[in-house]
């Protein structure tokens, strides 16, 4: 079986959940090989983590030389690794569908003269290679596609597969890539990690509770309600533009696209750009004081009312039930 390369998504060596989803998908397509580009000291921890999800091999690329540069060096690493595997492989290269992941994938596709599919929400093995499913036009269509030239390069969105535990060999292999000068032309001058909220990641959460302009800047009712359900917190662009939440919370066309089991929109009107980020959610609930708000067109359940009274009462009731 051919190797399927999976680029490990991590923060300082702490593996993020989409990596396990990608390894699970890789198992459907061939033999999963994780590619860890990061600090050498974190490598053993990463190997332990990814082998639980089926990684047969783990390529470890020390990032000391490339950490200070944007995207381009990582594309070179993957190119050299793919070329090293020769004609027999890899069967596919799977990359997390983050902003950075897609940029790496775009550059890699040119380097390898390979087709690229971004934002897959499902990947299955097909006769002529992997078949992907994407959700397009603000979630109004689904599209099945495949790569017809070169090595299929696919970026996969979070929550596209349930991670399945399966013990892999986890054979560690150091890989030394040669990074060109031209890949080092865009420097990362400063980096400010985002403060951890203690809540689930927006794109990974099973439940997302969002607030919009209707919160009037008072997000506590939204956050308390989210916490009672163990949910992630999101925001509309109006709430972000008002400075009530950082951009990382924004759900929609130019923010995060989420597809949780449950999405609760509070004080959000339901503009098309917001819908683009949430309308593939399994169940949709809205609280809005305007019964004409377009968000109600998509809900499974809606409450016409003031979020500042409805949410605290609901939070109290849920807390009581959970005992």
């Amino acid at each position: 079986m051919s190797e399927v390369l999976v680029l490990v998504d991590h923060v300082d060596g702490k593996v993020r959940k989409p990596t396990y989803e990608l390894l699970t998908i890789a198992g459907r397509l061939g033999e999963p090989s994780a590619v860890f580009i990061g600090g050498a000291e974190a490598a053993d921890g990463v190997v332990e983590a990814v082998k639980k999800y089926g990684a047969e091999k783990v390529y470890v690329v020390d990032d000391a030389e490339i950490k200070g540069y944007l995207v381009a060096p990582k594309a070179e690493v993957l190119q050299q690794l793919a070329e090293k595997l020769g004609d027999s492989g890899p069967a596919a290269i799977l990359i997390p569908s983050s902003a950075e992941g897609k940029e790496i994938a775009g550059r890699l596709a040119i380097k390898l003269s390979s087709g690229l599919i971004t934002d897959a929400v499902d990947v299955q093995a097909g006769d002529g290679g992997p078949v992907t499913t994407q959700s397009v036009f603000a979630g109004n269509y689904t599209v099945q596609a495949k790569v017809t030239a070169g090595t299929p390069i696919i970026t996969v969105k979070p929550n596209s597969a349930a991670p399945e535990e399966s013990e892999g060999a986890g054979a560690k292999e150091e890989f030394a890539a040669t990074i060109s000068d031209s890949a080092k032309k865009a420097k990362i001058i400063a980096s400010q990690p985002r403060a951890a909220s203690g809540r689930p990641e927006l794109t990974e959460a099973a439940i997302v509770v969002s607030g919009g302009r209707g919160t009037g800047g008072k997000f506590e009712p939204v956050e308390d309600f989210a916490d009672s359900l163990g949910a992630a917190v999101g925001a509309s662009r109006a709430a972000v533009d008002s400075g009530w939440k950082p951009h990382a919370f924004q759900v929609g066309q130019t923010g995060k696209v989420v597809s949780p089991q449950l999405y609760v929109a509070n004080g959000i009107s339901g503009a098309i750009q917001h819908r683009a980020g949430m309308q593939t959610s399994k169940t949709i609930v809205a609280v809005n004081k305007d019964e004409e708000a377009p968000i109600f067109e998509l809900v499974d359940f809606g409450v016409v009312g003031d979020l500042h009274t409805v949410l605290p009462a609901a939070t109290e009731e849920i807390t009581k039930r959970k005992g």
Binding site: G106, A145, K185, A248, T283, V287, V304, V310
Partner: protein
């Protein structure tokens, strides 16, 4: 300084966007316009021009697309771009991002002496967010993408980039490829004067031959990906909506969540 802004003509997101029988996006039967997200790119290019005191700056709007795509250029000219170039060729129809980036790169090379390529963060139809990175790769230029704040000092550019797990400051020296997000600042509306002035601005139309790209390397048949099928998602139907009276809304909401096993 020579600035090229890449602008895309896209089907209007508020219209009924759909696929053709060959699974390509219908770009003709649906009203189109300059991609909203590329207006931010035009805006930043114009601001760079306005801030460059005593320096000659020319802003060229570049698009690759069908005949109608010249509308996207015209809008950019009305906003204040100096000239437009429209690469149009029957062979381009159905191109994927790899081919589109190849055509754009060839056009940029033909324009020549370009200091800055400015793109939007994503096109509102395909929204792959890969073309700027692909252009940097093809043109071998630094990639300074997804900026929400853009600063320039001579040839030195710095941007703020809001990443998934951190916010970064990225720096590079021109010539480079820049892309900007919708956080970079509201795009201006064309003024009446701008609309009148645009009519006299040069708008050139180039074929693949003009830019030296082999027609066999682009278009639907040459694409490196193939769409196997498209399916319209059944529209969501409205479920139960209750009106809150004296706390009844919260109770009903919790009942609903419990019935779906979320509690």
């Amino acid at each position: 300084m020579n600035i090229v802004v890449c602008v895309k003509y896209v089907p209007d997101a508020t219209a009924d966007r759909h696929f053709e029988s060959d699974n390509t996006v219908d770009r003709v039967g649906v009203p189109g316009l300059l991609s909203e997200l590329d207006e931010y790119a035009v805006e930043q290019a114009l601001q760079l021009k306005e801030k460059a005191e005593g320096e000659e700056v020319e802003v060229t709007a570049l698009t690759v697309g069908p005949d109608e795509a010249s509308d996207a250029i015209k809008k950019a000219l009305q906003m204040g771009a100096d000239k437009g170039i429209h690469v149009v060729d029957d062979a381009i129809a159905g191109s994927d991002s790899l081919a589109t980036s190849q055509v754009l790169a060839a056009a940029i090379e033909k324009i020549g002496d370009v200091d800055l390529v400015v793109c939007g963060m994503a096109s509102t139809d395909a929204s792959m967010s890969v073309v700027p990175a692909m252009l940097a790769e093809r043109l071998d230029l630094p990639q300074v993408t997804l900026g929400s704040v853009i600063e320039r000092q001579g040839k030195e550019f710095r941007i703020k980039r809001d990443g998934d797990t951190s916010t970064e400051v990225i720096g590079a020296t021109a010539p480079l490829v820049l892309s900007v997000t919708d956080q970079s600042g509201e795009a201006r509306y064309p003024s009446f004067k701008g609309i009148m002035a645009a009519k006299k601005k040069p708008l050139e139309s180039w074929s693949l031959e003009d830019i030296g790209v082999d027609a066999g390397k682009v278009g639907l048949d040459a694409a490196w990906t193939a769409v196997e099928g498209t399916e319209e998602r059944p529209p969501r139907t409205q479920g139960e909506v209750v009106t809150d009276e004296d706390g009844s809304g919260a109770k009903a909401l919790v009942e609903f969540l419990a019935s779906k096993k979320f509690i």
